[in-house]
Symmetry: D2
Subunit: 267 residues, 4 copies
């Protein structure tokens, strides 16, 4: 088991010249389901797995997550696959009980301005884990960074996951412009989420490639062994087989950029 | 001189498996200026040049374009460099006088629902030139396609050039989601414009690469020999030297996709 | 018949301390239809009738208007009812043929940045008719005023008709905030259109009252003798009978404000 | 002191045919400050006072509220003026300690989808206090109602406080359309907040009148004895003197509607 002293830091995750890929299911549903994903990710060399124990849902009648029940499942995945675990924290009372298992807590889009949660994640200064902060669907760049300040800007990895626009033709609109502005002008690490803006699996590969090509620092992508029967986000999760293809595309684009592109415009 | 019978068609421009790159200044300012650009484009193997004779400007006090004065300059560029000429038509009375020089008329964002202009571009059926239809900044996919129907959907190349969103951190927000939906669901050719959504030159390379990586059919990019002194869009135009670099990036990403990416998700 | 010299001016229409009410059908369909409306308006003391000869439609397959065919119908309504006629001009070539009949040309939302049309409406300075300029659905206050500058700011009556927002629960969102800003900060006359933002007849009364109560200078409302069979905007047009009720509500609110409200906050 | 059994209910607050007016400062700053407001409200016959103990602020460097320190001040205002107290709850741990003093808890815009807070406000069923649920700045009507379902739809009073739009000319855009749709189609009580969408005091009277005229069930308005020196929202709070005028306007418009308006279109 990781001890606090051995915890990964933001600098471990976002290494200079590498591209962070986080994969995993929208929600942790069963131990079998998460192990299937973890195994597939392991085979592909992916080291960070996402998976939500608690699901913030628009409607109280929707699946709300397995909660702490799933924590030992994630613990065993850490032990068996050496996987780094990222999960969403939706309440400050979840921080302490999950502390030993969760390497990378994240704050979801709907909680980007839940300031009590942000303060709790800052804690008393001993917790140095990196925190992924997803952008609220209609929040400005300044609001996003101010929310990062609540946690501590040096621990935060920003995540662009789509804005709500007046002309949405998909679930959300991926805002690469906003992501580039925080990266370029504010020197903050930014990763992209192709799954939520797409809202449909068939557009995930194209948005994933565009995130790499824009020069962002990584992406987090929803992967499920059986998307059609997922308890949430069924339409936008991709299978491990598709993920393997997307990963090939991501690597190809990334390598092409490494070889031939002066990244001065982004750094 | 091209005759109507020799005109290029949409199929010539958007060839299967190739990526269309259109470069050129925001506005045609002087013959010397456009020749400089044309020469630089020629050296880079670019075959289609953009340049506006008429400039739709928010304020009546801004530069409105040189109008027909610049037409012979474009004509000589066609003759000397074999360049295909794309320019914006902002009034139906401009169609006839420019017919012999302009290979690819385009409709700007602000005129996407200027239906009288769209009807005039449809004409009587003898004009088979491809028409680029830029998307209105808050228009839906359906409205965009219905505007294409006014011209004739088989002649139109759609161009995503940024939407106006509630959280704009740049001039506009490039909407790859919308572009992918028209391409994927409607099987229409779509190119992207990285210059207007960026509104600043330093973000143009990143947005250009993301347009290629998303799998769109091409892009149109503003190139000016001396952006700082341009009469319009001074902040977002790039120099021929930067364009050469961007073109290298575009090609590298495009080749990477050709070699390794199953484009089934987009076609 | 009005002669140019007898034309009404903006100051005639927007009188200090009065509230301008313009009623009439979305589109002029038949002479019988417009006469029915004109007669109903006349009975209610309404002096300005709206009615479009040309209809800008998103789809080319939708009803496009009767065009010049309807002009004599409007002429006879002027003669028989003394009605002031407001109609949309969608092309510069329509200005001259309609000059003698149309007292108040208007520019629709989709043409707010059709600068060639705006320039043509400015004309050579002899045309002093008031022009209603509807706001584009995603245009800023500055863009709206700059478009007014193309026509001549002293002739223009601005009309707020709804913006396109990320959370539209109706056809558009009535933006009273924007209307108040142009009125308050820019001292421009602004009227409201309750019909298009509502997109449904049952919300028109409430939005009409809110326009009056906000202190705007008037409103333009769609009235049709048989909305269910209207050739356009069937869902949002109200009958003359409902219009009579709405007019009573408007007057009651307006009188309440006259008697008791210090309008200093708006003037 | 109120006991739980004597608590007001939603039906007490939103009475058929009456219009609810809630006034009070953005934030509780000092006992003197809130007593000044309470006294002014009392003199005007206002029975419900707002005032935030905790302030959710975009930046961690902004004033965060006096917290529980201010609770006895509010308690004494209840005792001395018989005032009903409404305050924002930003964390579930605040519910219990404030239970005896706070008659009407509210959920702010940024927490509309903080589902853990919503669940805590539902509690175990013994708490029957009305809860004001402000709309998130880019949330749809459906999301708003689903959030109400977390608390219990029969206890919730919805509050429209402005959306973030692509063309904001003020702090937010008051969305009467959305408010009317929830009232009309969903039969939910809806009040309006003129202060936050305005973001400037001089537009508050006009927006207040438009909220009444639209037929909403009430409004909540920020009143401060010395707005220029307020610790938050300094620009948009109005003085008790201005509030007296606005209240006169509200009553005049409301009475005009009572006397002459068939409210069938809204009920």
């Amino acid at each position: 088991m990781f001890k606090l002293a051995e915890r990964i830091t933001r600098e471990n995750l976002i290494k200079n010249g590498e591209f962070l890929v986080i994969g995993g299911p929208c929600a942790v549903e069963t131990e079998e389901q998460v192990r299937k994903v973890a195994s597939a990710l392991y085979d592909l060399g992916i080291k960070v797995m996402r998976g939500q124990l608690w699901k913030p849902r628009s409607s109280p009648d929707s699946f709300q997550g397995v909660g702490l029940t799933g924590l030992p499942w994630l613990q065993r995945i850490k032990e068996d696959f050496g996987m780094i675990i990222a999960t969403e924290i939706v309440d400050k009372d979840q921080i302490e009980p999950t502390m030993e298992v969760v390497d990378v807590p994240w704050v979801g889009s709907r909680n980007m301005q839940n300031f009590e949660l942000l303060k709790a994640l800052r804690g008393n200064g001993t917790d140095q884990r990196p925190v992924i902060l997803k952008r609220g669907a209609s929040c400005t760049i300044d609001e996003w960074l101010q929310s990062a300040d609540y946690i501590g800007r040096d621990r935060v990895i920003l995540c662009e996951r789509g804005i709500r626009s007046a002309t949405d033709s998909t679930r959300y609109t991926l805002d690469l412009n906003g992501a580039l502005v925080v990266k370029h002008d504010k020197r903050m690490p930014v990763i992209g989420d192709p799954s939520h803006p797409a809202g449909r699996a068939d557009l995930v590969p194209a948005l994933s490639r565009s995130i790499v090509a824009a020069g962002l620092d990584g992406l987090v992508i929803e992967v499920h062994p059986d998307p059609a029967n997922a308890l949430s986000d069924a339409k936008q999760q991709i299978t491990p087989a598709t993920f393997r293809e997307v990963l090939g595309q991501i690597k190809a684009v990334y390598r092409a950029m490494d070889l031939s592109i002066n990244r001065a415009d982004l750094s």
